[in-house]
Amino acid sequence: MNFDELVGNFPALTITGLEQGAIYALVALGYTLVYGVLRLINFAHSEVFMVGTFTALWTWEALGYNQNSPSPAFGPLLLALLAGLAVAAIASAATAVTVELVAYRPLRRRNAPPLAFLITAIGASFVLAESFGIGTARAPFGMPTLIKSETVFTVFGAGVTNVQLLILGVTLVMMVGLDQFVNRSRLGRGIRAVAQDADTAALMGVNKNRVILLVFVLGGIMAGVAALLWNVRYGYTKFNIGFLIGLKAFAAAVLGGIGNLRGALLGGLLLGVAENYAAGLFGGDWKDFTGFVLLVVLLMFRPTGLLGESLGRARA
């Protein structure tokens, strides 16, 4: 154990942890939204994220960027980021909607048991990952360096980079936007109504299938945004990139209380930070290990997660 590393680099580990956790949190929102309404773990959500990373990359390639391109000036950079964001968000949302229409809705219509949904969820995940695996020859792909990482300011001796600020800023904006949408808008009320009592929601004139589509779209958009941020920060993707991130995001959703939007944010950030502290303390190999130990220990004491389920119960 390396306490000096943990203590000495505490601020830096915290900042890196928050940055990674923000990406987990954005992906976690997709699990939590779908679970809140359908009581279903959409295991294909990890691939919704993966599709976002590839489509953002292809967008940049179409705009003429490759791994050797110099970082663009502010104007073209903004354009590249926004174009990548739009394409990734749309592609991820479309993927999520396709999974719902192909893998889940037909089963719902036939009143299939929960286990059947679990199998089609895992099946959809494999089909998506493998088709990208085949299509890309299972190769890793590097990204153009759109933003050169530069330290903007320091806190407690730890540098905070422009990329980190971008990730945290975008995550915060998306989170607040989603929270407002779900709690304040008419459609958001429809989502909460179905989550709390689907039959009564129908008696209010809520079209359940439309609400379900909406949560897949919202979760897909969040995953697409996460994918763009991932590309900017980590600079590569691969057909199976979704697996570990998806699993961690799912863990983050459970950690915060699945079905709870703010819980997804809290769980994501907490997981990211804890992982990095563990990496500092035990070495980088222990990073993935820690997240799940943390999850198991926490669930022993709080089985419903930190904030409990809330789309279904209290205010989301």
Binding site: R186, D199, T200, A202, M204, G205, R313, A314, R315
Partner: protein, 236 residues
Amino acid sequence: MLLEIKDLTLLYGRIQALHGISLVVNEGEVVALIGANGAGKTTTMRAISGLRPVAQGSIVFDGTDVTRMRADLRVIRGIGQAPEGRGVFPGMTVIENLEMGAYTRRDRAGIAEDMAMVLDLFPRLAERRKQAGGTLSGGEQQMLAVGRALMARPRLLLLDEPSMGLAPKLIQQIFEIITRINEQGTTILLVEQNAQQALSRAHRGYVLETGRIVKEGTGQELLHDPAVKEAYLGVA
């Protein structure tokens, strides 16, 4: 005729819950459906609102066959329901619950007007407007369920056991409100175990026994029918 049900059968798995029910609700009426526990009252309501699929027979609302129509589309056509067990959204405030009642409406001014009307009708709800539905007492939840159904401005209001679990004073109050809503032009189909109150307020009534309609008549006729008296009014 606003609602016409013909030969309705409904199954729960292999068990037949309704054996060919026929009933009619005319525009402007209060119609009571009475019967013992398990007679099929709530099942009938769920068939009308579209929550339970029908095996045979037809449901015609305002000239349109709605037998196989989705529940949410029936709401748009004008069928509103305060369901059995109230169905208050526990995590929404009183106001949000009422707004859910107006989910299909877009006329902001009309919604605001009805909100004021409902809060006026149930001052208790006005006092608790910011409170979560799940924290209300049974009586308050019942008021909320009825108020929420009114927010849809339904042409036909289905009330399933609105007096269930309420104190006698509140029961009296709920039935007075039902009469008032009807006088303002809403047609009402009322399911009740409290046959005395229901029949004395209703224009007409039906008696349901084990999934069959065994008697029908005006509210007064049924109130004075010896068999009904013995079975449902607790008088020998």
